[in-house]
Structure formats: C-alpha cells, structure tokens
C-alpha cells in the first residue's frame, strides 16, 4: 500500500456478518465461535495478499464489528471462542507487506485501533459476562498471539506444530504492536527473563513449555482439543450473569449523510474547517423526554438515544482518525435540553444492572476512552443551548481544554450555557488509568473532587463552573469570538507531532495500568522504532522482509 492508495481510499467502519470476508460467526446456545478465516485476496488495499491468516485493518474492522454485535445482538452468549479455520495456522499477525508499505500515520492508527479492539475483548470478559476463550489451533505468531493474549483463557493445540511466538524483534526489527510485551509480563505474569527469551525466539514456544512459562493456560493434544475447548467454554459460561432469554438488540446500519465538509447522523453531525484544520462535532440531546420503562427501551433497540449517539460518535471518531489525518483539532459541542439528558442519565444509572443498559454504559466508557487516546487536540465549547449534563459532561472532562460562554450572545435567545454533573462523572466511566476524568483532572486534590460531587444535580452556569475548576475558561460574548479564533489559529500553527506528544502526556496522569502502558509504550517505543532506518530504511528489516536479504543494522544503541 503506497501512501497514495492509503490516502485515497476512504475507510469505512460499517459492516455486518453477512458481509464479512474474514470471520465466521456461529452460535450454539450460550457459546459463540468466532473463527478467523482470512480471505487472502480481500485485503483492503490492493498491493498485498493476506497469507497465513494475517490481517490488515479490514480484518480488524470485522473483528470489532463482531465483538460489538456479540454484546448487543447476543445477550444469550456467555462465552466466545476465538479460533482459526486454517489447518496449521491460527494467525500470523499483522500482514508484513501491508505494514512495510503503509504510511507511518496509517501504521499508528492501525495499531491504535487493533489495541482498542483487543481492549474491548478484555472489557467484555471482565464486565459484560461474555468471556473470551482462545482456542489456538495452529501457530499464533506476533499479532496472532497478541490477539490470543486478549482472551481470558488460552488453550494451545499440542500437536508438535502449533506454537505461540512474538517474532517481531528477530524477524522484523520492530516491537509487537498490540500490547504483547505488556500483556506477557503484566497479564500473563510470564517471568521477565523467560519473556526475554520468548521474544527473541523466532519460532516461538510449543506445548507443555508454553504452559510452564504461562504463555498459555493449557496445551491439549489434537484428539482432545475440541472437546476440551467446549468443556472449558461451558465452564466459563457458567459464571456469567447474562440473561438466557432476553430480546436481542439489533445493530442496524448507521445512517449518515456525508459530504466533503460535513457529515450528518441522526444525533450527531460534524463539520470540517480545512483552514483551521478543525472538525466540530455537535452532539444532539434526545429528541424527546424519556417516558419509557425498560421494556419500552429494549423495544427501541439501537434507536434508544444513548446507544444511537454512542454508535454515531464512535463511527465519527474512527472516520476522523483514519480519513482526515490533516484535521488536527476536534471541537465538541452539544445542543439540547439539559433536563431531558439528565432523565436519560438517571435512567441509565437506575437500571445499570440490566444487561442492555450495562452494555450501553460500557459502550460509552469505551467510546470516551477512544476519545482519550485520539491523537488530535480536543476542545469542548459549552455554549447557550448546550446540554453537557451527566454522561455527556464527561466529554468536557475528556478534552484538553474547555471554554464556556458566560451569559448570552447578543441577539441570542437560547438558554444560558449550563453544565450539570451526575454520578456519571464519579465512577462509571474510568479512563485507561482507572481514574475517573474528574479524578484525573483534580489529581492530588481530592477536595476538588469532593467539591464537584457536592455540585451533583446543580445547574452550573459559567462562573460556577469556572469557580469549581470544571472548565478551563469562562468567557463572555465580548471575548468569545476572538479568543476562540486565536485559540484555533494558534493551535494550528504548532507542530502536530509535538502536540500529540504533549496531549498524550498530560491526559493520563497518575498510576500506570496495563492499558496506559500499552498505549504509552506503543506511542513512545513502537512509533520511534517504526521510524528508524533499522526497521524501515532501505536496508531495514521490515523493508527487506521476505526478500532473502538480511537487514544491515546500524549497531549503535540509542
């Protein structure tokens, strides 16, 4: 894939099982099987073949879609088995030719998305009662093993062939890009020296040794493999609290009307300004007050406002990341009735135990996290008529800076801007660092968090919000236009790289978690290595892969 083809092909994140090229989904009561069967000739870009169950972004878009549908459309599924349809190959990881030809920007976006998808697998196992079991029925190399690592339980076929490996370093002179190193030591708790050995053994580790080193949980001979996988899947399903007989919530295709400069969904639109390199995402509140009970909500399926909005926001974020690399700043705005938003917010919390509502809250959690790790400047503008309340207010705390209008614009009759906190802002949507956004914002000043908590339910106007340090600046209409113009012009003049680095550093305060390590180290180490001649130079390993020529490394340590 040349940079030209990457930039000319618009990536689409909407798909459905009927259109899958690379995955088969099958169901057996509480157990679903997600089988990787990559179609070699169906790569998203024309210049590589997806041999050996290797993947590109297209394969991962389908995986992400399947995971989402398993959550919403299959309340009855309690265990998901990931396996491969190929004979001896589980998955060879990300396609090397695809990587070698991709622009740096695409590689980064690709790795980020695949990471988010792996994280969402773990999220399902941990919070949705939908546990992932990986049946490694062939060799799992690199990204293939990293995919397996996202599952809760790994069963490796012990047939003298199937191995798990992370061969990136000996083979390609890059790092495993999907959290493999972190998950080895943090999740699997593989001893660090053994991990060192493992990561430098190209052919990987098989059978009992893989179990001894904790690389997998079990190694099972071919004859007993399927049976054992079934049994384990059943056992895991037994621990789930998902309902057996709930109505599924079908995820219909998202309707959107996209032009060069704007895109309109039902509860969201974004507008692109190429001059200031910004995209303004305007979120709409619910079109009506919530009058329904749970049954009424389930009946609305994916049209239930919080779910519909989350899907649209998710789609917009992915679109802007992949298809609009030059747009450096995302501006969040909202329009709607604060009270209506709060009625939904309350409803969600009152019914948080219900499987569907739980899924919706989890989806918002993941979408907010997607915002957190987006390599673009994030601003929120809180203007008259906006509805940043409850879970929508989380957007205000996700951004790098927030600006709130004090009073009204001249000749504007809309209600003064208000910000309203709810319990949504205090526990429900942790960031990757496992702190809430307010805890991150007020890191080291619990008093401010407590103070904010005391403001739950209060309709905060700009001076109140500023006094409680909930917004960066409150500006009156006299200053607004000019301040905002200058803010955007100034931002657009800085180095995008430096901004990405600064923002990522400042967004994640406090403790490291597996997730923050995965994203942080991806950004810091992998992206550095991806730029270095030892990987991508003419003599670099990634460039020469498959050519039979050995890479010639610059031997200096940096």
């Amino acid at each position: 894939m040349t940079s030209e083809s990457a930039s000319s092909i618009q990536m689409n994140f909407q798909t459905c099982p009927e259109q899958y090229q690379h995955w088969n989904l099958s169901f057996d009561g509480a157990i679903a099987e997600l089988i990787l069967d990559v179609n070699e000739n169906a790569g998203l870009f024309p210049d590589y073949e997806l041999k050996l169950n290797s993947y590109d972004i297209g394969v991962d878009i389908e995986l992400y879609d399947a995971i989402q549908r398993l959550r919403f459309e299959h309340p009855e599924v309690k265990t998901v088995i990931i396996s491969s349809a190929k004979d001896t190959m589980f998955c060879a990881g990300a396609n090397i030719r695809m990587l070698a030809g991709a622009t740096h920007g695409h590689k980064v976006n690709f790795c980020k998305f695949t990471n988010e998808t792996r994280n969402s697998i773990e999220d399902a196992s941990k919070y949705s009662g939908q546990t992932y079991l990986c049946a490694i029925n062939g060799t799992a190399a690199g990204g293939g093993y990293e995919l397996a690592l996202a599952a809760d339980y790994l069963i490796l076929k012990d047939d003298g062939n199937a191995a798990v490996s992370l061969p990136e370093i000996p083979l390609l002179a890059v790092l495993p890009g999907t959290g493999g190193l972190t998950r080895l030591v943090d999740k699997r708790k593989v001893r660090r020296d053994l991990s060192d050995v493992f990561c430098t053994v190209e052919e990987g580790i098989k059978g009992k040794k893989a179990v001894d080193w904790r690389l997998v949980d079990e190694a099972v001979p071919t004859s007993k493999f399927d049976e054992r996988v079934r049994a384990k899947a059943k056992e895991l399903a037994g621990k789930s609290d998902r309902p057996a007989d709930a109505l599924p919530v079908k995820l219909h295709p998202i309707t959107k009307n996209m032009t060069e400069e704007a895109c309109e969904y039902s509860y969201l639109r974004f507008d692109i300004d190429r001059k200031t390199r910004t995209a303004t995402l305007s979120l709409n509140g619910p079109s009506r007050k919530l009058k329904d009970d749970l049954d009424g909500v389930v009946e609305q399926e994916d049209q239930f406002w919080p779910l519909a909005l989350a899907r649209e926001l998710d789609d917009a974020l992915l679109h802007l990341r992949f298809n609009e690399p030059s747009i450096g700043t995302l501006i969040f705005k909202s329009t709607g009735d604060v009270q209506s938003v709060l009625s939904y917010d309350t409803f969600l919390h009152e019914n948080a135990e219900h499987w569907l509502i739980r899924e919706i809250l989890l989806y918002w959690k993941r979408t907010l996290k997607r915002i957190d790790v987006t390599s673009k400047t994030l601003f929120a503008f809180i203007e008259p008529g906006s509805c940043f309340a409850g879970f929508l207010a989380e957007l205000v705390f996700a951004v790098d800076r927030s600006y709130m209008l004090e009073g009204q614009f001249e000749n504007d009759i809309r209600a003064q801007a208000e910000l309203v906190l709810s319990q949504s802002n205090f526990a429900v949507f942790p960031m990757a660092n496992e702190l809430t956004r307010l805890e991150s914002r007020f890191y080291g000043e619990m008093k401010s968090v407590d103070n904010a908590r005391s403001l739950i339910g209060k309709r905060l106007e700009a001076p109140d919000a500023e006094a409680a340090a909930l917004v960066t600046y409150s500006l009156d209409d006299i200053d607004w236009e000019d301040e905002i113009r200058i803010l955007l012009e100034e931002r657009a003049s800085f180095s995008p790289d430096a901004l990405t680095g600064m923002e990522a550093n400042l967004r994640f305060v406090g403790p490291e978690t597996m997730e923050t390590k995965i994203f942080g180290r991806l950004t810091a180490w992998q992206n550095w290595i991806f730029q270095r001649p030892n990987a991508v130079g003419d003599e670099g390993a990634l460039s020469l892969y498959g050519s039979g020529t050995r890479a010639d490394f610059d031997k200096k340590r940096v």
Partner: protein, 479 residues
C-alpha cells in the same frame, strides 16, 4: 453602573463609545491606572495646575491642545495614526499580503510579548522620574518633565489599548500587570534593566530622554511598519510624542553645556578638564558630562538585546517587527541570502563579521541608533566650539560597559581598547560617574520656582513652550 461618556473622557479615534469589549476592559483598568498615577506619578504635584499639551485627535488641529490641567485629570487618549487604505506588508515571510487587522493566532504570543515589553517601559520611566519635580531648575523644566510623564502615560494607554482590544483575557491580565510592576523594585521590577536604574538628578533625566527615549524611538520605528496594522498605526502616532521627549533631553544637556561653557569663559578657566575649578563655579564640568554619556549610552545599548538574535529574526520573519525605516532600505526585505556586518571581539581584536542578515536585525537597529546618537553629539560639540573651548564629547566605543550581546564578556575602554578585567576594575571610575560625581550633581539640584528664573547650572531655553514668554507660569505652584 453609570454610563460613562467615553468619547469625552478619553480622546480617541477607535470608536470607543461603541466598542463594548474595550469599554468593559477599560472600566476595570482605568481606575487602577488612576490609582497607579496618583501613587507612582510625579510626587507632590498631583493637585497643581500644569500647562500641558493634550492630544485630542491625530489631525493638525487636535494633536496639540495646550492648557492648564491637574495631572490626574489629564485626558489620556487612544489615538492611532490614520489607517492607510490597502497597505501591504513590507517585509518578512508575509511580504505583499494585506496587513492584518486582527492578531494572527500563530503570532499571538510573540506579538503580545513585543507589546508588553514596549508597554512596560512607559510607566517605568514615569516611576523613575517621579521625584524630579522637587529639584526642577525652573518651571519650564518642571513642566517639561510632567509633559514627558503624561505622554509616557499615554504610551502606556496605547499599548494597553492593543492588549485590551486584541488579546482578550490574557491581554487584560497583562495590562493589569503593567500597573503592578515597579521600577527598581526587588520583587516586581520592570522588565528591562535600564528601566530599573534611578533617575536621581536632572542631568540623568536629560541623558535618559536623550539616549533611552531614543532607543524607544528606534523600537517604535521598527514596529511602525509591522504587519499587524493596529500596532503599526499606534506606534506611528507615539513617535510624534517621542520626538518631543528627545527634544527635552537633547536641549536640556545642551543648556547644561552652554551654561558651563559660559562660566568657563567668563572666569577665564583655560583647562576645560579642570574639574575642581569648574565645579567651583556651580556648573557641571565637561568630564562629568562625558562620564554621564558613557553611562547612559552603554546602558541603553544593552536595551537592544543581543546583536545576533533569534527572537529578533523570528519577529522579522513573522512580519511583526521590521528594521529602522524598512521601506527606505533597498533590498528584498526577506533577508534569506544577504549578510550584514556585525562587530565582534575575536581573539582580542574587533572584527566585522558577515552574519546572515536575518540574524543580525538587532545589530542593525543598534547601528542605526548609534548613527542617530552621533548627530546629537555633533550638536552638543557645536556649543562647546561656539565658546572656543577645546573639548570634545564623544560616544564611547560600543563594546564599552556592556552587559548584553557580543561584548558582554569584553572589557573595553571608551576609546575601544580591549583591556583586562583588572584594568577595568581599577579604571572604571575614570569613565563612569563615581559617587563623588553623583553627589556633586545632587548638590546642584535645588528647586527654582520663580517664573522666568533658572538654576545656576543651566541656561534658559531659546524659546518658550507654545510661544509663551520667558516668565510664563508653566506650573502654578504658588497658588
């Protein structure tokens, strides 16, 4: 809140009465400014009528209205030189583009910094000069220092206007800070060194307005062709006032020289360097004048910043701050490939080194300043010559007594010999005013307030202000 009649209170040509943003900002800043003036403006003369010039508009009619006014009631105005239709940017990377009427976001910080640095010097000099009224050698001079002071106040207004109008909240904060810093204060000093020096006596004042206000002139000239049009227009109007400040300085020193020469001649003193004899006459001797020149000139050179400066080249490249009289320079106004000779100390010798011109913008402004100062020296020496006295005042070498730039580590004599640190230590008293000199000058400072009378150490001016007669009561002290 009462609706204030802004246009009457504050002479302006910026449509203040319909500019809500500006009104809002001024509502808060204006009382603070008046407080500052009362606290830090001329000490002891706040309730006295002073014959001052007020600019009420920028045309011929309005730029010089004379009348008695109590200084806190002075009508400080916001006046910009008229907008030129279709003006284009004349230098730097934006050359040829229409000038900006709004701050370009990418240059916001750089522009704000330029404006704050310029703005900070204005109240600083008022603070430095606040006690001079008590030792004024005449009502004429007293009035002049007050005129300079109110105009420096207006220059502060001019910069604050830009901050208020174009820099929003940050601008208001910066404008506030301009009133909080204090010249010479340990904790909250003014930004630039020379503006924290004392102005204890009138010779210092005249030297300051000769040399340091001339630096202001150079800075304003460099900003007067800025791509940011409001800044260019503001500074162009400020230059007319700066001209008067330099006039006060240059003629002040000239009158000091004239009086000294007069008495030297009258008393038949043959050696113009006979300090003791000349001081016996109660006037300022020429060697002390030379030392004062050495001091004020060298300290002011430091205000230009390093000759080779990336800040300056960034500001030039960004089309924010040009060179002196940019438009009369015959080059491409981009400076991508040209060089400029910069004097350096290389292995103990002064050598001109060709540096990329874009990096030497400060050095060049400094050169232009030096040329300007040379002309002042010529007029002063003409007076000495008039009296047939064999003495010549001169500017010291540019490496002399420098704390900043190319020569910050060089010890040089006024004539430009490079010397050792030890030699500098033992000789600097010969070149710079020492305590004796300063005490002597202070001893001369006696207030003279009888209309038409002048202290012994200074001659009367050639003409009065606004054509007033010799015994005009410029400041109504008696009442």
């Amino acid at each position: 809140m009462n609706k204030v009649d802004y246009d009457n209170l504050i002479p302006n040509n910026v449509d203040l009465s319909s500019d809500r943003r500006l009104q809002k900002a001024l509502e808060k800043w204006h009382p603070g400014y008046i407080d500052w003036w009362k606290q830090m403006g001329p000490d002891g003369f706040q309730d006295i009528d002073v014959y001052l010039r007020t600019a009420v508009s920028v045309d011929q009619e309005g730029w010089a209205k004379f009348g008695y006014v109590k200084m806190p009631e002075y009508r400080w105005g916001i006046l910009l030189a008229p907008q030129e239709e279709g003006r284009k940017i004349g230098f730097g990377q934006h050359i040829g583009e229409p000038v900006w009427q709004e701050v370009p976001g990418e240059y916001r910080a750089m522009l704000r910094r330029l404006i704050v640095i310029q703005g900070d010097t204005e109240p600083a000099s008022v603070e430095q000069q606040r006690y001079l009224g008590h030792t004024a050698p005449s009502l004429y001079d007293m009035r002049n220092v007050f005129q300079v002071n109110v105009e420096e106040g207006r220059h502060l207004w001019a910069m604050v206007y830009l901050l208020h109008k174009y820099f929003g909240r940050d601008g208001r904060d910066e404008a506030e800070d301009l009133l909080m810093r204090r010249s010479g204060d340990k904790d909250t000093p003014r930004i630039l060194g020379a503006f924290n020096e004392e102005t204890p006596d009138w010779l210092s004042f005249f030297m300051f307005t000769t040399f340091t206000d001339r630096d202001s002139k150079m800075q304003l000239e460099a900003l007067a062709n800025s791509g940011f049009d409001p800044l260019a227009r503001t500074t162009r109007f400020m230059l007319t006032e700066e001209g008067h400040h330099m006039f006060v300085g240059r003629t002040g020193v000239e009158r000091v020289i004239r009086r000294a020469c007069e008495l030297i001649k009258e008393n038949g003193i043959h050696d113009p360097s006979d300090v003791g004899a000349i001081r016996g006459l109660g006037v300022v001797d020429l060697p002390t004048l030379q030392k004062k020149i050495n001091f004020h000139y060298s300290v002011t050179l430091d205000l230009f910043g390093a000759e080779i400066s990336t800040n300056a080249s960034n500001a030039f490249n960004a089309s924010l701050k040009g060179r002196f009289r940019e438009f009369s320079i015959m080059d491409d106004h981009l400076l991508h490939d040209s060089t400029y000779p910069v004097l350096k100390n290389i292995d103990g010798k002064f050598v001109k080194v060709h540096e990329p011109a874009i990096n030497a913008v400060n050095g060049r402004l400094c050169d232009d300043y030096i040329d300007d100062c040379e002309q002042v020296m010529t007029t002063w020496n003409r007076v000495i010559k008039e009296y047939g006295i064999d003495y010549k005042l001169s500017l010291p070498h540019r490496a002399f007594n420098r704390k900043l730039g190319e020569f910050s580590d060089t010890y040089a004599t006024p004539s430009g010999e490079i010397i050792s640190a030890d030699e500098w230590q033992s000789c600097q008293g010969e070149w710079l005013p020492d305590n004796d000199d300063l005490h002597y000058l202070l001893s001369l400072m006696q207030q003279v307030i009888e209309p038409g009378k002048y202290a012994n150490w200074i001659s009367p001016p050639r003409t009065g202000i606004n054509g007033q007669s010799g015994d005009f009561e410029y400041v109504r002290i008696a009442a």
